[in-house]
Every structure is written in C-alpha cells, then in structure tokens.
Symmetry: C2
Subunit: 259 residues, 2 copies
C-alpha cells in the first residue's frame, strides 16, 4: 500500500469508529424543567397534579410506586402543536419527529429584554445574528434567548403576575409579528422556541405569532430551560413531545447536542 | 501539496461537513404509540383521558385549541423509572438523559414468542446474539423483540385479557430473572426495553425483573412500537421521558437513528 493509501485508510477507520459511537453523551444537555407543584402554567390553566397511587412495600414484600398525573397541555416545558392556533393543522402526535430535530440558531436578546420586559424579537435582531453566523440554516429551530430562565419558577417575576386568572398583567418577551412572518416566508425553518411562557409577548391580545407560526404548520417550544448554555450556532436540538392524539401540544423533553 | 495530502484534506472536509449536519433526519424512526382512547394500560389502571378545554374560533376571531390530560404513569409507550420498584432510586426526572441514549441491541425472539405467549428471554438468547454481533456494548439499551407490536391495540391479543382488573389472565412475553441478573452483573448496560406491556412476563407474580433492573438504578421501556424496524445492531436509541418530579415513570417519546 502507498503512503497516502495508509493515511486515507487510517482516517476512514477513525471516521467509522467515531460514527459507530453514535452520540457523544458527554455533550448532551437537558433543556427541560421538571413537572412538579411549582411548574408554571398560564394563569387560566389548571396546575400540574400528581396523585400517589402507591409508594410503599406491598404485602408481597417488594416496593411499588405508581402515580396518576393530570395537567393542562400548555405548561412547563412544552410544545405548541400547529393545531393550537390553526384549525386542521398537525396535532401533537402528527408533528413529524424530524421537525423537532435540527440545528439550533440561538438569538441572544438578553440585553434588550433586561431593559424591556415587553421586548419583541425584531427582524434586525435576526439579521445581526446572520451577519455574524451566516444565514439561518434550512431546518433550523430558531431559539430566542431572553434570560427569563433565571426567573423560573418565581411566577411573579416570570409571568408578571402570580394571581390565578390575571392575564391583564402578563409581562415577558416574545417574538414580533414581523419576525414570525420573516421566518415563515423568507427562511426555511422547522420550528421556533424560547425561554418564556409564550411565543407571543405577555401583553399580546391577538397571539399573532402563534397564528403565523402554527398557521404555517410549524410547532413552537415554550419555557425552554438552560438556553443560556447553548452556543449561538452549532448545537443540534432534539425535542421529543408526548405523543398525544388530537393534542394541541403537551409536555416535551428537550435536549441539545453541543458541538 | 502532495497527492496524499490532497486526499486526506478531501476526506477531512467531507467528515467536517457530515458532522456539521448533525443528525441525518432521513434515518430517524419513531418507536412510540399515540396516546388516545385505545392506548393500552394495565388492567388495574385508569385509561388515558383527554378533556377538551377549547376547539373553536374565539370571539376575537382566531382558532384556539387546548386540552387537559389525565393518565396513569404506566401505560402506552412509557418508562419505568428505577423508583417504580426500588425505594430511594431515581425518580422519572432524576434519570440522566444520557442513560436513555445509546446503542440498541435488539434480541429477536419472535419465533420463540410465537410458540409460547409466556416466553421469557434467556441468557442463551443473549449469548446467541453476542456470537453473531459481538459483546453487548457498554451503555447499551437491550431491546427484546417479541413481535407483540402486531397485536397492538387489541387488548385481548396484547395483554391476554380485555377485562378491567383481570390480572390473573395476563399473558405476554418478558425478560427472565436470570437474564436480568446477567445483564446487571455481567454486562455494562444502561437500560432495557421491549414491545410488550412489562419487563416481566404476564404471569409474573413477584415482578422480579423489575426488582432487579430498577434495583440496579436502571430504567425500563415498555410498549415500545416498531421494534421490528430496527437492525439487530447499529441503531442508536434516544428515549426522552416526560420529566415528572417524584414520578415512578411516565410517557416517553422514543426514536431510533438507523445506521
């Protein structure tokens, strides 16, 4: 074998071994909040409930724990299926898993959001990201990083209100109408997500970002945890939602593979 | 640049491009059943319930759909957290996501299970697999393929009974005690799973496989769908469960990356 043949063979063997290993588990991070009595829901929704069925040694001598759970679909770290705001579009179980796997484009607007709790992500913010990192890739999941994760699970700080039913006083950042329109018409993205309770900012009355994103048959990810641990570019997101038939959304476990 | 230098560079560029793409979405398959009114639960458990909160155009003019859901943790495609049968071990939200990501070792016992609905996976079955495919790799998720997926969602065929509470007539295959002991003591696996309702076969009274696997702080995956679509070796499993604090298990969305 020639010298270059040996080198090529060595590289190919290395590639094969690296590929066979599958996923590098040391580069996996969890972007999900636990569901418990502190989990934040919309002020009009029922909170998460866990009913203990068993948590004890049985008469047969072995330990046995089991629970029932009840929850609204839209609380904690969850997915909005397209059906949430768009009649006839994909229900939770109909969203292809491929649509929730893809390159994460993280738009950091923590500085703007710190100045304005009602901040909305602008097209200029996207363009600034693209100037630095290149065009938002095909199939991307565009994530808005507002810094709101540091307020979790304090309802007053995270939602703007801790009073049940008090939707009038919701304050947190979200996407703008123009940005949603730009993403569905000018870029080929798979989904969006952010670290606040809603794709629309807290004071929205028409939920226009939901209407645009879900209307384009694309899901949204809300209350995403640990977003500040992702690089602006280079991570792969994997968001696997509970597969609820006729669901308008539901709990989702989100991980990222760091580059 | 020398000739071999050019070839090495070309290969490295190819590797970099391939890696940057992250996950090949054309090789992703979904191993999860939808949650609906047909979802199979243990005969003593409550079935899955979806309560419609809204599915209509609001007065404001936009479509809005939302639901509440109630379910037992152990039904449909779900995870048994170690806490299910082992006091003090990991609850659902404490299982590291890395433990549910790994190489899938698929042990095909469809022929045996077709002859015996109470079939239990033997150490000899594992050894036959290893003779053909090599030692079960470190961090593997060992999956028992019984063929039971073709019976879903027919409760009588899948469980052996369609009567609520009728645990006496449960019949389906599972792991054997000896196989569970071998896997936790002689191999370095992360989890096990199968395409029936339980790690233990239907007629088990002591749930000894649960006691051994959960006792070793390892989770189990039950009612896994589409297992027959996996190769015996070479796929990577990613199972992301709902992150339930104090949970003994819960709904899990499982995908495989084909080789």
């Amino acid at each position: 074998m020639t010298r270059f043949g040996v080198v090529v063979l060595a590289v190919l063997v290395w590639v094969t071994v690296a590929t066979a290993a599958g996923i590098d588990e040391s580069k996996v991070i969890d972007l999900t909040y636990s569901f418990d009595e502190h989990t934040i829901y919309w002020p009009t929704a029922k909170p998460f409930q866990l009913e203990i069925v068993s948590a004890q040694k049985t008469d047969a001598g072995y330990w046995y724990a089991a629970n029932n759970i009840c929850l609204a679909e839209h609380g904690g770290t969850h997915m909005d299926a397209p059906l949430h705001f768009a009649e006839g579009k994909h229900a939770a179980d109909e969203v292809p898993v491929q649509q929730l796997i893809g390159p994460a484009a993280v738009i950091d607007v923590r500085a703007q959001a710190a100045q304005d709790v009602d901040y909305r992500l602008t097209v200029a913010d996207l363009q600034a990201w693209e100037k630095q990192h290149g065009r938002i890739p095909k199939g991307a999941i565009v994530l808005m990083l507002t810094g709101w994760g540091s307020r979790w699970p304090d309802k007053k700080k995270y939602l703007g209100t801790d009073q049940p039913g008090d939707v009038a006083n919701l304050h947190f950042p979200g996407f703008s109408r123009e940005t949603a329109e730009f993403l569905v018409s000018q870029r080929d993205i798979d989904a969006i997500g952010l670290d606040t309770p809603s794709m629309d900012y807290g004071q929205s009355k028409d939920f226009i970002v939901h209407q645009i994103i879900n209307g384009a048959n694309k899901p949204g990810l809300e209350n995403v945890a640990n977003l500040e641990k992702l690089p602006a570019k280079g991570a792969t997101l994997i968001a696997l939602p509970m597969k609820i038939a006729k669901g308008s959304g539901g709990p989702v476990r989100i991980i990222a593979l760091l580059p």
